[in-house]
């Protein structure tokens, strides 16, 4: 259906009905921005992904190698320490005095005092890691000790099972026990016992076992650097920097070193992590797991005698700290890249959008019938060229439009000249001002006059439409009296009314004023009255009613004419529409009357309407505020 308003018609924006219509409707700036953002995020993301991957791998590798290296070194230290103690045991067990004294004690002689003094003065003094020495006979009874109290303690064989194995050792072969908790020598902490077999100096007969008691602290001092320092070396304690831990686990899976995370774990903290349990299968390896304190670590383990495991762990977070820094840097740099990308879209976008918008606004003006609108192309890129071409086209349109308007205007005025002559000549004749006429002559003259009126109306119609279409019509409201106006219009149609024997009634006597442009109001009313006359048959009735009430004033024309068919009622205000029930042979209209009527009413911002029944008549009205 044709749009009837005189305002700029809304262009039907391309509703891209497909799935991605929403994308196409986005502004160019937004599209560019999204594009750039995606590209930069993707590039940064892809680079970051690979960087992370490589960084993580190499950092983990480095950390793993580190823990393994530390573990190997530490394993060496621990083994060396144990060997040193074993060496001591063997050395003491080969001491002649001890062997003789032991033999004598076994034979019944009381040498304990002497032996004790010997042990303390000559043996323990050699090695401060030794906390005490016990000498057992073949039945695992203590026969001599560095502390005589040991002899009185009333031990049971089950207290000293750790020396059982040693009884089967060869001469010069020492054994290390697991960690024991029984108190000896009033040492209030865990001990390990290093023992060697004692044999008769001459016969080589097994006399018993010489056992050295070493505090567990001494063993752990190897791990924490205490021993190295004692021996005069230096220990670079970078554990705080590297968040690492080294500890021993015994064959029962219990920690036998202190932990930096929790106090007092010795022989109470079970360790079942992969590193610790790997030694069941007798190989050393590196792992990533959560340690018994719940901290993710990279660990390496190695196996020691007695089923002990040496575990070195480094906290994963610390080891991979570089990765965290990398992630942070990437996040910052992607943010910066994003900002730069967005800024970079604005610059080229502006270069494209500003001339594009300029062109767009010129086109919009032209859509509103302003043919003087021009673009302002700068540069000769595609848009610049387009702008120039648009201006050429606009100029041509402007010329054509002006020519059209001028032509219609000129033609209409040129037509009006002879029409004026025709009209007046006809009137003079029919008024019998140039002589009397016969009835038949009157008939012909009357018909001629009717045709003249028709032609005048047609020409008026053309002129009007031309002006309306060119948006030249302006409304300048004044006080207008409607009843007088109606009389003036009817005066114009006196002849027609007489010829067609219409019954015309005006239903208002006193004056009714409206505030509207006088010429345009006259136009509107004329169109309605003229139509009523055109489409009502001989002897029909036309009622013109002007009334005033609380809502405003109403002008209406009611006729008993041919009416408008129901199916066409929505089209009657369209250009060139003529009712299908109007005799095609008639030449008194081309369907512009009601089109002009509606256009003018819109310009004047007036409410208009109609009711009509085919074959019965129509009623058209105009409402003034």
């Amino acid at each position: 259906m044709q749009r009837l308003t005189t305002s700029t018609s809304k262009t039907k924006t391309s509703t891209s009905g497909k799935k991605f219509g929403w994308w196409r409707d986005l502004s160019i700036t937004v599209k560019l921005a999204i594009g750039f953002v995606f590209i930069s995020l993707f590039s940064v993301g892809a680079t970051a992904y690979f960087a992370f991957d490589i960084a993580q791998e190499s950092l983990t590798d480095a950390a793993s190698r580190n823990v393994m290296d530390i573990n190997s070194v530490m394993q060496g230290y621990v083994l060396e320490f144990l060997e040193s103690e074993k060496g001591r045991a063997v050395d003491f067990a080969s001491d002649g005095f001890i062997r003789d004294a032991t033999n004598q004690i076994i034979l019944g002689e009381d040498m304990s005092q002497e032996l004790q003094r010997h042990l303390v003065d000559n043996k323990m003094s050699l090695d401060r890691t030794i906390s005490g020495i016990n000498i057992f006979d073949r039945d695992i009874n203590i026969v001599a000790s560095s502390d005589l109290v040991e002899l009185t303690k009333g031990y049971d064989i089950s207290d000293h099972l750790y020396v059982l194995d040693t009884l089967n050792n060869e001469y010069g072969e020492a054994s290390v026990s697991d960690v024991i908790v029984q108190t000896h020598f009033d040492i209030g902490q865990e001990l390990i016992v290093v023992s060697a077999p004692l044999t008769h100096r001459d016969t080589g007969e097994l006399l018993g076992v010489l056992a050295l008691y070493v505090e567990l602290d001494e063993l752990n001092a190897v791990l924490n650097g205490g021993r190295q320092t004692d021996l005069g070396g230096t220990w670079d304690d970078d554990s705080s920097e590297y968040s690492s831990e080294m500890y021993l686990v015994n064959s029962e899976g219990l920690m036998i070193s202190e932990s930096r995370y929790v106090a007092q774990v010795i022989l109470s903290q079970e360790v079942d992590t992969p590193a610790a349990t790997a030694c069941d299968e007798n190989y050393s390896a590196e792992f990533r797991y959560s340690n018994v304190f719940g901290i993710p670590v990279i660990g390496a383990s190695s196996c020691l005698p007695r089923g002990w495991v040496l575990v070195v762990e480094v906290e994963e977070d610390a080891a991979l700290e570089g990765l965290a820094r990398l992630k942070r840097n990437v996040a910052i740099s992607s943010f910066v890249v994003l900002i730069i990308a967005l800024l970079l879209t604005i610059l080229p976008a502006r270069g494209i959008l500003v001339p594009l918008r300029d062109l767009s606004s010129a086109v919009k003006k032209m859509d509103g019938h302003d043919f003087t609108a021009r673009a302002h192309p700068s540069g000769s890129d595609e848009i610049g060229v387009l702008g120039g071409l648009f201006n050429n086209m606009a100029e041509r349109l402007n010329v054509i439009d002006t020519m059209k308007t001028e032509f219609i205007s000129l033609a209409s005025h040129q037509l009006r000249k002879p029409l004026a002559v025709l009209k007046w000549s006809g009137e003079l004749l029919s008024d019998e001002k140039v002589g009397k006429l016969s009835d038949e002559q009157h008939k012909y003259i009357a018909r001629m006059n009717e045709s003249t009126v028709e032609m005048v109306e047609l020409v008026d119609g053309f002129l009007n439409i031309s002006r309306i279409d060119s948006r030249l019509v302006k409304s300048n409201p004044e006080r207008v009296e409607l009843v007088t106006l109606v009389q003036k219009i009817l005066h114009k149609y006196e002849d027609v009314i007489e010829n067609k024997e219409f019954d015309v009634e005006t239903l208002r006597e006193e004056k009714i004023y409206v505030f509207a442009d006088p010429l345009l109001v006259r136009e509107l009313c004329t169109i309605l009255i003229s139509n009523a006359m055109k489409y009502t048959q001989q002897k029909g009735s036309i009622i013109i009613d002007v009334k005033s009430d609380s809502t405003g004033k109403l002008f209406s024309v009611t006729d008993t004419g041919v009416g408008i068919p129901a199916g066409e009622q929505d089209k009657i205000f369209s250009k060139f529409h003529r009712g299908s029930n109007v005799d095609r042979g008639r030449n008194d209209g081309i369907g512009l009357g009601l089109y002009a009527f509606k256009q003018l009413a819109d310009v004047m911002d007036l409410n208009v309407g109609f009711n009509s029944t085919e074959g019965e008549g129509s009623r058209f009205w105009i409402h003034f505020d």
Binding site: H413, R416, K417, L419, A420, V421, K423, W424, S425, E427, L428, D431, K433, V456, V459, D460, L463, K474, N476, K492, L519
Partner: protein
């Protein structure tokens, strides 16, 4: 002194001039005609008519040009002018209003009788003065 109502017709169409002259003379009105603004100017400089019927589109000097000149001369300010034209634009009507024209008629809109009636008002007035 008896003063008849004098009508000055200004129109470039010869036929219309004769129509006006013939019809208006019947009412006891003196009719003078001019073919364009220039001729009309020559007349009014000698004698001011009671009423002027003025066409717009004329050669040599059109209706508005004449009007402007008329209002500038002695006695020209108050002469009643009825403009008859084929043009119908509001802008023209406003322009005419500027020069004190109260009746601006489009030829194809009015009947010849209406013009006769307007002139006869003048004629009656003059008769009353007598």
């Amino acid at each position: 002194m008896n003063k008849n109502c004098t009508v000055l017709i200004v129109d470039d169409d010869e036929f219309l001039r004769s129509v006006y002259t013939e019809q208006l003379s019947k009412g006891g009105v003196d009719v003078v005609s001019a073919a364009n603004g220039l001729e009309a100017m020559e007349y009014v400089e000698n004698q001011m008519p009671s009423i002027i019927l003025l066409d717009v589109m004329m050669p040599k000097m059109n209706g508005f040009e004449f009007l402007e000149k008329l209002r500038g001369i002695d006695g020209g300010k108050d002469v009643e002018v009825v403009m008859l034209t084929n043009l119908g634009q509001e802008s023209d009507k406003l322009e005419a209003g500027r020069f004190g024209v109260t009746k601006y008629l489009v030829k194809t809109e009015v009947k010849i009788q209406d013009i006769i009636d307007i002139i006869h008002v003048c004629a009656n007035e003059t008769k009353e003065n007598v």
